[in-house]
């Protein structure tokens, strides 16, 4: 959850694209893993690597095939949004066509349950926590310690000024897309192993990611990741206490309260700036 949110947030912040097609990448990554492991009989770790590479390639194709031509033609932000929705639609329906709408699972046999007192959890949960921490650390170092990461941040804060200083916008946005797409693969892998993938699973995840992005604070990639984590935890706690059907309502209530009380999110800076 947090991983998807971070990938999503980095794209919005840097190239100001509402990257709805991230839902498509998530689903595609999961299906790639499924094809590799279930159909071709590869081991799980190899499936994960191929799925990561595949997601990266999908990111490159999206950037070069869709976002770059749109940027060249001077499309408004709404244009990116709509094209991105279209792309998410195409990818998810393509998988529905290719693989059918039944859930697909692999590697369920590696799932082991543990319990400490009353708390039950599986080793998948532990793997998920570790993966999340790894991606989080990766983002932190990438954004703060590497020169590419710094130029991503520069473009995010003011694209025109950083272009004057020599940042190559096309290159930065390509890198951003690849990073965002790569990091979604572990999340989708866990999904395949844990509960299985269906073609339209992307939407649910995406809606939560969007909400976490707002709650976590516009303009803050790591804040968005933290908020994704918090939302996931709150949602699970709620399900523990009341019927699970009301979980979306609770999440919505949280966003609604945030919208009134703290529109800039937990760690966000300014809400928005008038561009001159």
């Amino acid at each position: 959850m947090a991983i998807v949110t971070m990938g999503f947030a980095i794209v919005i912040n840097t190239v100001s694209v509402w990257h709805i097609a991230h839902a498509g990448t998530y689903v595609a990554g999961a299906y790639l893993a499924w094809i590799m492991v279930a159909l071709l009989g590869l081991p799980l770790w190899l499936g994960l690597i191929i799925s990561i590479v595949g997601c990266g390639i999908i990111g490159i194709i999206m950037e070069i095939g869709l976002y770059r031509p749109l940027r060249r033609s001077g499309s408004p932000i709404g244009g990116y949004l709509l094209a991105s929705i279209g792309l998410a639609f195409v990818i998810q329906n393509a998988w529905a066509l290719l693989a059918g709408t039944y859930p697909k699972m692999v590697g369920g046999e590696i799932k082991v349950s543990y319990n400490i007192g009353n708390i039950y959890f599986t080793n998948i949960d532990i793997i998920l926590i570790i993966a999340c921490a790894l991606v989080f650390t990766f983002f932190f170092f990438f954004l703060n310690r590497t020169s590419i990461g710094l130029s991503v941040k520069a473009v995010a804060s003011n694209s025109r000024l950083s272009e004057i200083w020599g940042a190559d916008f096309d290159r930065v946005s390509l890198i951003t897309m690849v990073i965002a797409s790569l990091t979604v693969a572990p999340a989708s892998m866990v999904r395949v192993i844990d509960i299985g993938i269906v073609p339209f699973a992307g939407w649910d995840v995406l809606i939560l990611a969007l909400i976490a992005y707002i709650v976590g604070g516009v303009g803050s990639t790591l804040g968005a990741g933290l908020a994704g984590l918090c939302l996931g935890i709150i949602k699970s706690l709620m399900i523990w206490q009341m019927p699970s059907v009301w979980a979306p309502l609770i999440i919505f209530a949280i966003v609604y309260v945030f919208m009134w009380a703290r529109p800039r999110g937990i760690s966000g800076k300014k809400v928005w700036v008038y561009e001159v």
Binding site: Y80, W203, I207, L249, V255, M259
Partner: protein, 288 residues
């Protein structure tokens, strides 16, 4: 023949939805992704009032419009106080909540939906499922068309355009941006409620799955294909996009494949239009 009438009625319903979304997205650039939820609120209000309380069609239509406008106000107010982008997120979240609530509440019939909605009647004259219903839908479409055209020509419509083009400039000449945006969303939702009522009366059976993401994206596709800021375009878009899946039924494709292919096609329409003709078939050219 009945089949053709059903398709024509659907076209009217979706054209109304297209017009309503176009008012909001085309004119004041508010990309709300919950139009199908407004559509659904309208349909469910009508269905509940007519089935459970035995109201007539016209009063329940009016009540549905009022309730939907109220819902739209509640959704739009907090998010539009901040920024239009937040509205996008909260509208998507609202769609999600609407879907899950309707699927689980008792009053909306849960996952099975509402069955046996009576045929609408006006002044004791029952409007059957055939020609009279089509006539009523066409009358509604024409009324909505005229209202929308009147709005876009009025001073309010010009303000909407101004807010869509440049918020800062619009506020600097003394326009209350939030009020304009919120009323725009409310008008749009009210129009969507009309088509929701028509839908409930036509299908006589509604279900939560009729008002979710696919429907929102169909509305978006209709508007994009027809072109922003073109009310005629939305009608044309509805005609094209409703006809195509129907025509596909006559091809030898199995029915399980038609759903994904239609979705794929709608997605491709969005991408291709955005890449090569961002102002749609009949719309005005968009500026960056």
């Amino acid at each position: 023949m009945d089949y053709i009438i059903t398709i024509l009625t659907s076209i009217c319903i979706w054209a109304i939805l297209g017009i309503s979304w176009n008012l909001m997205a085309g004119y004041s650039k508010l990309f709300a992704l919950c139009q199908s939820a407004f559509f659904g609120v309208g349909a469910y209000c009508t269905a509940i009032l007519m089935t459970n309380l035995g109201w007539n069609f016209v009063p329940s239509l009016i009540a549905a419009m009022g309730i939907t406008a109220l819902v739209a106000l509640l959704i739009a107010l907090p998010s539009l106080r901040v920024h239009s982008d937040y509205f996008l997120v909260i509208s998507l979240a609202f769609l999600y909540v609407f879907y899950h609530s309707v699927k689980n509440l008792e009053i909306t019939g849960g996952a099975t939906g509402i069955k046996g909605i009576p045929s609408p009647s006006i002044l004791g004259w029952v409007i059957g499922p055939s020609y009279p219903y089509l006539a009523m839908s066409i009358i509604c479409l024409i009324a909505v068309y005229l209202v929308a055209r009147q709005i876009t020509k009025s001073a309010f419509g010009k303000t909407l355009l101004a807010v869509g083009c440049d918020e800062l400039a619009a506020s600097s000449v003394g326009k209350n941006i939030t009020a304009v945006k919120v009323s725009c969303v409310m008008i749009s939702a009210t129009l969507a409620a009309i088509s929701g009522s028509l839908y409930a009366g036509q299908m006589r059976y509604i279900n939560a799955d009729d008002f979710f993401l696919d429907q929102t994206f169909l509305i978006v596709c209709i508007v994009i294909l027809g072109g922003f800021k073109s009310i005629k375009g939305s009608v044309l878009g509805a005609i094209i996009l409703i006809m195509i899946p129907e025509l596909m039924r006559f091809t030898p494709l199995p029915t399980t494949v038609i759903g994904p292919i239609t979705g794929l096609f709608y997605g491709l329409v969005l991408i291709v239009i955005m890449l090569f003709r961002p102002h749609g078939l009949l719309g005005e050219r968009m500026k960056g």
